[in-house]
């Protein structure tokens, strides 16, 4: 069983003694390497949401900093101890995340929501005139986007991005990947969104469209 290195023992002593630089040094010595380790162990999650990995490392470092006596320097290296702690925190966070996603997913789609009487900003756009304007705008938007994207699928994805739609489900439907695992869907959607966004940014499409529709 590997024991703590001299540098780790010194850092541990600093933390125990409440040294003014201890937390900063802990982050400096171990923060980045812990993120690298977790990223290599969970590459899919690292691509999808780096923030979760950063959060789990933060939890682990603060957990140790607040209760340094939980670490026994004769049992393992500090690095290993922090690795285990941050991985455990990441697993907990992922579980929490997936429970939340499942709860969101389990909501039925056909729930009829009551009209919010208090929200007077909500405008009813179902009158024939509004519908006509909407459909004309829709056609012109599609036509304008066809200058930048060749496939119909890309045009539809670009329209969703421009409309600031965030739900993965909508993108998955267009990409026809609804049969995949939710995490795989998110990954594929992100890949496609990044690709489309690159074109939109490079060509400055949004401001050009604004000028057309003004």
């Amino acid at each position: 069983m590997a024991e703590a290195t001299a540098q780790e023992i010194e850092l541990h002593k600093l933390i125990l003694s409440g040294d003014s630089l201890a937390l900063s040094k802990l982050y400096d010595f171990h923060g980045e390497s812990l993120i690298k380790i977790l990223k290599s162990r969970y590459p899919k999650h690292a691509k999808l949401d780096e923030a979760l990995i950063i959060e789990s490392v933060t939890e682990a470092l603060f957990g140790y900093y607040k209760n340094p006596k939980t670490y026994d320097q004769t049992q393992s290296t500090l690095k290993r101890f922090l690795e285990v702690a941050s991985e455990r925190d990441l697993i907990n966070l992922l579980e929490k995340h997936s429970k939340y996603s499942k709860r969101r997913k389990s909501l039925p789609n056909d729930v009829e929501l009551q009209k919010n009487k208090r929200n007077r900003a909500t405008k009813d756009n179902s009158d024939p005139e509004s519908l006509l304007i909407q459909s004309e705008s829709f056609v012109s938007l599609k036509k304008a986007l066809s200058a930048y994207f060749k496939s119909v699928r890309d045009i539809e994805l670009a329209m969703l991005i421009i409309s600031k739609v965030r739900e993965t489900e909508k993108y998955s439907e267009i990409l026809e990947i609804t049969h995949l695992d939710i995490e795989e869907q998110q990954l594929e959607v992100k890949r496609n969104k990044d690709r489309i966004k690159k074109v939109l940014d490079r060509e400055d499409v949004e401001s050009k469209l604004k000028r057309i529709f003004q």
């Binding site: 003014s20 630089l21 937390l23 900063s24 980045e32 993120i35 950063i54 959060e55």
Partner: protein
């Protein structure tokens, strides 16, 4: 933005409410002086990484006899000027003292002395 910066940024947010850490004073100072984080970094003439590392350092105790020693230790580690750090600490401490003090003590100082019986007799 590097992953280390993101990590340090999240860490200083966690301690920003705790006056035991410099992050608290950096945040308060930026609020008092209406400065952005970048402007405070320029004021301290340090890198963003050093600024975040500074935030994670414990605050030197202004009432301690070795305050200067503690301040120099932090400034040396974070490559910042101890004079500027001292200015930040003192500014925040002073403002907070005024903000949390009992207002009546200042009113008393501003009021004229009430005329007592002796004063009236002298007149």
């Amino acid at each position: 933005m590097s992953v280390k910066i993101k990590l340090l940024g999240l860490a200083i947010k966690k301690v920003a409410d705790d006056s035991d850490f410099m992050a608290y004073f950096l945040l308060k100072y930026s609020q008092i002086e209406k400065l952005s984080e970048q402007e405070v970094i320029s004021f301290l003439k340090c890198s963003q990484e050093d600024y975040y590392k500074l935030g994670l350092c414990k605050t030197p105790d202004a009432n301690s006899t070795n305050f200067i020693e503690q301040l120099n230790k932090v400034s040396e580690y974070t490559h910042t000027s101890s004079i500027e750090l001292n200015n930040i600490l003192k500014r925040v401490i002073t403002i907070e003292k005024f903000a949390h003090s009992d207002n009546t003590s200042f009113l008393m100082a501003a009021r004229d002395k009430k005329k007592g019986k002796k004063d009236k007799e002298n007149e």
